[in-house]
């Protein structure tokens, strides 16, 4: 049996692939001399801001890292707020959350192996002394795991509190119970926590990736 979380995740991925590739085609055809207008302006300036932020962390070869980081960020924005349109939040399923920590682990390790050769990476892991090697190894595994579990815990708690409120309040207040649901539950637990957690995952992935990639640049 396929879980509803996985189905909504696949729906979000499909819609995002179509919409974002259409927007990408439109942006690549733009005339750079004309001023931008409307939603395209918001999208282009938003991506530009994210690119600037990534550039401050990675320095000159930031273009290698920007696409995957921004893709993960955009997916998380839409996935965490997807319960507003009736889909199950994908990250409130532990399998998808753990797959996100696997994603973070693979991004960090693969980029680390490619940018810094495996030999130098081993040297980084043994950095202060060889005695700290097991502890560094645990750190490499536990930070991505904590990132995935953080997403899972936040979104599952939001979903559970939402369900509890939706069960309890109609019996107590009747039609007035629409107010706490629309004013309190959805803005805080869907929009607020979802966007904050998406941003936090993006920031932490950026920070850990930049640490793995340029550990001893100085």
């Amino acid at each position: 049996m396929i879980s509803p979380n996985l189905i909504s995740s696949l729906i979000i991925i499909g819609v995002l692939i179509i919409v974002l590739s259409v927007i990408g085609k439109k942006v690549s055809k733009l005339d750079p001399k004309e001023p931008l207008k409307g939603p395209l302006f918001i999208i282009v300036s938003g991506i530009g801001k994210l690119n600037d932020m990534i550039q401050t962390y990675f320095g000159k070869n930031w273009k290698l890292f920007a696409p995957i980081l921004i893709a993960v960020f955009i997916y998380l924005i839409f996935a965490n707020t997807s319960s507003l349109i009736g889909l199950n939040t994908p990250l409130s399923n532990i399998n998808i959350a753990i797959s996100f920590s696997l994603l973070a682990f693979l991004i960090i390790q693969v980029y680390g192996m490619i940018i810094r050769t495996p030999k130098k990476r081993m040297k980084d892991l043994m950095s202060p002394s060889i005695l700290l090697f097991p502890i560094n190894l645990i750190g490499e595994i536990s930070t991505p795991l904590a990132m995935g579990l953080r997403l899972f815990g936040n979104l599952l708690s939001g979903a559970v509190i939402g369900v509890i409120v939706f069960y309890i309040f109609p019996g107590l207040l009747g039609i007035v119970s629409v107010i706490p649901m629309t004013v309190v539950v959805h803005p805080i637990f869907n929009i607020g926590f979802g966007l904050i957690q998406a941003f936090v995952y993006f920031m932490l992935l950026t920070i850990f990736l930049s640490m793995a990639v340029e550990a001893e640049e100085a």
Partner: protein, 87 residues
């Protein structure tokens, strides 16, 4: 005391004890609450001292608070496991 625990173990069902354990596990939320409050208070102080840097301070505060939240979330996950997997 021994008699008391024996009484609890023999008269109550394991599911109720699992709910009790879930409640006790959520004491772990205490630490993350204190940590988040400390980060928020320090961020307010920093904004008061340097109002023009409020955007950067807010971003740093949110990331730090999310890090502090992790241990509380572990407690929450343990509580959920205890609630949903027993019974």
């Amino acid at each position: 005391m021994d008699l008391f625990f024996n009484l609890i173990l023999t008269t109550s069902n394991p599911q109720g004890l699992a709910y009790l354990g879930a409640g006790i596990a959520m004491i772990g939320g205490l630490g993350s609450g204190i940590g988040q409050g400390y980060a928020g208070g320090k961020a307010v102080e920093a904004v008061g001292r340097q109002p023009e840097a409020s955007g950067k301070i807010t971003t740093t505060m949110l990331v730090g608070q999310a890090m502090a939240e992790t241990t509380g979330l572990y407690a929450l996950i343990i509580a959920f496991i205890l609630i949903f997997t027993t019974g």
